[in-house]
């Protein structure tokens, strides 16, 4: 049985910068598109602001051109006589208003010879600001999870962050920049105060870790010992709990692993049983 392709939440720029991908045809030919953030999309869900609703059809064959925009870009598509159910739902949409669109990503060649990406909509419904923000946050979270997987960072912090296997984005550095742009632009639009601070902090840690790693490691040693003593309820601190705590404090898992192996070498920590740590 052929599985239904899930509708992946993505940002519009993801679709605009996507490349058609003919690989991955295990269950029949299906045209998927690889986006800069690594999503292999066939069906998508986007939420944004309806910017245009032009009636360009005739009486026998209705046709509407719609344009939907989010913080990363805008996308045009048409609704015509092949989507009779949708024509009715368009009536209650005003411009501008929040809408959610679920549809298949398609491509055609324009009169000028350009390849244009567009949507074949299946569902168009009015939304509100909360829903718009929620969809954008989900799109960004999944994009980050895909990049996490692409970088081979190991398990995601939580099981429910799991995403379908990402595809390697095409186009080198430009694409990486586009992906970062998509994530940053979206986050800035939703909660500038919070995320500008966090993004700044990442820049600082990346900068400093390049300069003096040794000092950095020593600076973490006290913290790690303290964490282990806090988590220790007698039998030692569970390694998994420690990793959880470390991740909650937004510290890199790799650095902490290195710090712990240093401390084990120095004899300041020991493992009473496998998987547990205890401070001396």
């Amino acid at each position: 049985m052929r599985r239904r392709e899930p509708a992946m939440p993505v940002m519009i720029k993801d679709i605009l910068f996507s490349v058609e991908d003919s690989t991955g045809e295990e269950d029949g030919p299906r045209s998927r598109h690889i986006t800069p953030t690594g999503a292999l999309i066939y069906r998508t869900v986007i939420c944004g602001v309806l910017m245009e609703k032009d009636d360009i059809g005739s009486e026998d064959s209705p046709l509407f051109r719609l344009r939907i925009a989010d913080p990363t870009g805008g996308l045009s598509f048409t609704v015509g006589r092949f989507n009779p159910g949708l024509i009715r739902s368009l009536e209650c949409l005003s411009v501008p208003s929040f809408v959610t669109v679920i549809g298949k990503v398609t491509r055609f060649v324009s009169k000028k010879g350009n390849s244009v990406v567009t949507l074949n909509p299946e569902v168009i419904i009015p939304a509100n600001k909360e829903e718009r923000d929620a969809w954008h946050l989900l799109a960004v979270r999944d994009a980050l999870a895909r990049i996490w997987k692409l970088e081979g960072r190991g398990p995601l912090p939580a099981k429910f962050f799991e995403v379908p296997d990402p595809g390697e984005p095409r186009g080198g550095e430009e694409t990486v920049e586009a992906a970062n742009g998509i994530i940053k632009d979206t986050l800035m639009a939703i909660d500038k105060a919070r995320f500008s601070k966090e993004l700044e902090q990442i820049k600082v840690t990346i900068g400093s870790s390049d300069e003096d790693t040794e000092d950095d490691l020593e600076q973490y040693e006290d913290l790690v010992v303290q964490l282990i003593m806090d988590l220790d309820s007698g039998d030692g601190a569970r390694w998994d709990d420690l990793v959880d705590t470390v991740e909650k404090k937004r510290l890199s898992r790799n650095i902490i692993e290195e710090v712990i192996s240093n401390l084990l070498d120095k004899g300041l920590l020991y493992e009473p049983v496998l998987g547990y740590l205890k401070a001396v």
């Binding site: 049985m1 599985r3 239904r4 899930p6 509708a7 992946m8 939440p9 869900v45 959610t100 679920i102 299946e122 569902v123 168009i124 419904i125 909360e130 829903e131 923000d133 929620a134 969809w135 946050l137 989900l138 960004v140 979270r141 999944d142 980050l144 999870a145 990049i147 996490w148 970088e151 960072r153 912090p157 939580a158 099981k159 429910f160 962050f161 799991e162 995403v163 379908p164 990486v176 970062n180 994530i183 940053k184 986050l187 939703i190 909660d191 919070r194 995320f195 966090e198 993004l199 990442i202 840690t205 990346i206 039998d235 991740e247 909650k248 937004r250 890199s252 049983v273 998987g275 547990y276």
Partner: protein, 433 residues
């Protein structure tokens, strides 16, 4: 073997009734005579004759300290063991026998008991004069009329030593794992009865246990001393997959050790459905109730209000039941919808309660509305408008079968927790350069 024993009493009673006090010499003679007459070995004749006088055969007595010393063909062994399981069966010629598992600190061995055997799992036993044979590729201790079994209080060396180790977590369980060791809280427990093949009823327990890593359904085929809400260490049992969902099976042989109730978070916290994604559930890596974030892409026809056959519960088509013909029918409501969370899709199944809560009015009101409008599809459309394309948080129990994944809904909420999502993003943000 049973042939032998059938013969024993005839020979025995015959001789015993003759003269009770035979001397040892006479008996030896008798043994030789029997051996010659019946064409059987001396041992067999001794066994048969001495047994009929209620005497123990004093040959080859061996006491072993460890079940691993048992070997095929051993006779008259004496050992201590802990009874792990007891099952009963019916002998071909009528009557009952028992079989199950013995264990000590490190080993287990199968047994069968062909005479009275009245002990329960967990008892410490001293077994004298049992024999060992090979049975279905393994060893089996055989106990019959000559074997004496008594219960002992000294369990030294009989409790599995794994007990001092570190318990595993529910999140690490996988189908096929045996002899699990968990520290968990019983968050749900119901007592039930099932009918066994032989027509008897058996008392069982069903429930859910949880630790910090997750939840799992348990079925216990005996009554064991656990209570809802308390924390225990459980040793024994195995995990199997039923309809794509992991279940833990245990029986009376499981070792239960109560632990302090503050070792794990409260039942209310553990009861919370675990956040999941369809991809993870379809891969069988989650068990128990899940919470998903996604949207409905289609409400299937047939959702809404309809009539069911009073006899069998099947949906009526034009007042006709496929089995019972024309029926009046009872009204009911349900919803079936395709749900999509960006990682996969599944079918949602909701009952009358779910539909009532979604439409925010009771079935009686909906029923009269439908009758007034003459349009039975109106409810399907209303549900569609409420759900399709909306950001939804749903929770329910997953079921995986030939038709794919479906979730039987326990709750459906419109909207997502935006602050929570921001926190999730912060956890992942370090990949941005």
């Amino acid at each position: 073997m049973s042939e032998d024993r059938k013969n024993t009493p005839t020979i025995g009673t015959d001789r015993a009734s003759g003269d009770e006090k035979k001397s040892i010499e006479d008996m030896k003679e008798e043994v030789h005579r029997l051996s010659k007459e019946l064409g059987i070995s001396i041992e067999e004749a001794e066994r048969s004759l001495y047994g009929s006088y209620g005497m123990e055969v004093q040959t080859d007595q061996r006491t072993i300290s460890d079940l691993s010393e048992l070997e095929d063909g051993m006779r008259n062994v004496t050992f201590r063991a802990r009874l792990i399981t007891v099952h009963s069966g019916t002998r071909k010629g009528g009557g009952e026998y028992h079989y199950g598992l013995f264990g000590d600190s490190e080993n287990t061995v199968k047994y069968s008991a062909w005479s009275k055997f009245d002990y329960s799992p967990g008892d410490g036993l001293l077994v004298q004069n049992a024999s060992v044979r090979e049975f279905r590729g393994g060893l089996e201790v055989v106990m019959n009329d000559h074997t004496s079994v008594s219960s002992i209080d000294d369990m030294e060396g009989l409790i599995p030593i794994v007990e001092d180790g570190i318990p595993g977590t529910i999140g690490e369980l996988f189908p096929g794992i045996k002899r699990i060791y968990l520290e968990c809280r019983v968050i749900d427990l119901t007592l039930g009865e099932i009918n066994t093949k032989d027509g008897n009823s058996k008392e069982i327990m069903r429930g859910i246990i949880a630790d910090r890593s997750g939840k799992i359904d348990i079925t216990c085929w005996d009554r064991i001393p656990i209570e809802k809400g308390r924390c225990y260490r459980l040793i024994g049992g195995y995990v199997k997959e039923y309809r794509g969902i992991q279940k833990l099976n245990i029986d009376g042989g499981v070792i239960v050790k109560g632990v302090a109730d503050d070792r794990l978070p409260s039942a209310d916290i553990l009861k919370e459905p675990s956040d999941g994604r369809i991809k993870e559930i379809a891969n069988g890596r989650l068990s128990g109730e899940v919470r998903l974030r996604g949207t409905v892409v289609d409400v299937r026809s047939g959702s809404g209000i309809f009539k069911r056959c009073e006899e069998c519960g099947r949906k009526l088509m034009k007042s006709q039941c496929t089995v019972h013909g024309k029926m009046k029918g009872e009204e009911d409501m349900a919803i079936r919808a395709v749900f999509d969370d960006g990682s996969g899709t599944c079918m949602l199944k909701g009952d009358k309660m779910i539909v009532e809560s979604l439409l925010d009015r009771p079935m009686e009101v909906i029923s009269s509305e439908v009758r007034a409008s003459m349009d039975p599809d109106m409810i399907t459309e209303e549900l569609s408008l409420k759900l399709v394309g909306r950001s939804l948080t749903i929770s329910g129990d997953p079921i995986l079968d030939d038709y794919g994944l479906s979730i039987s809904l326990s709750n459906i909420d419109i909207g997502w927790d935006i602050e929570n999502m921001k926190d999730e993003i912060s956890l992942l943000l370090e990949v941005v350069q």
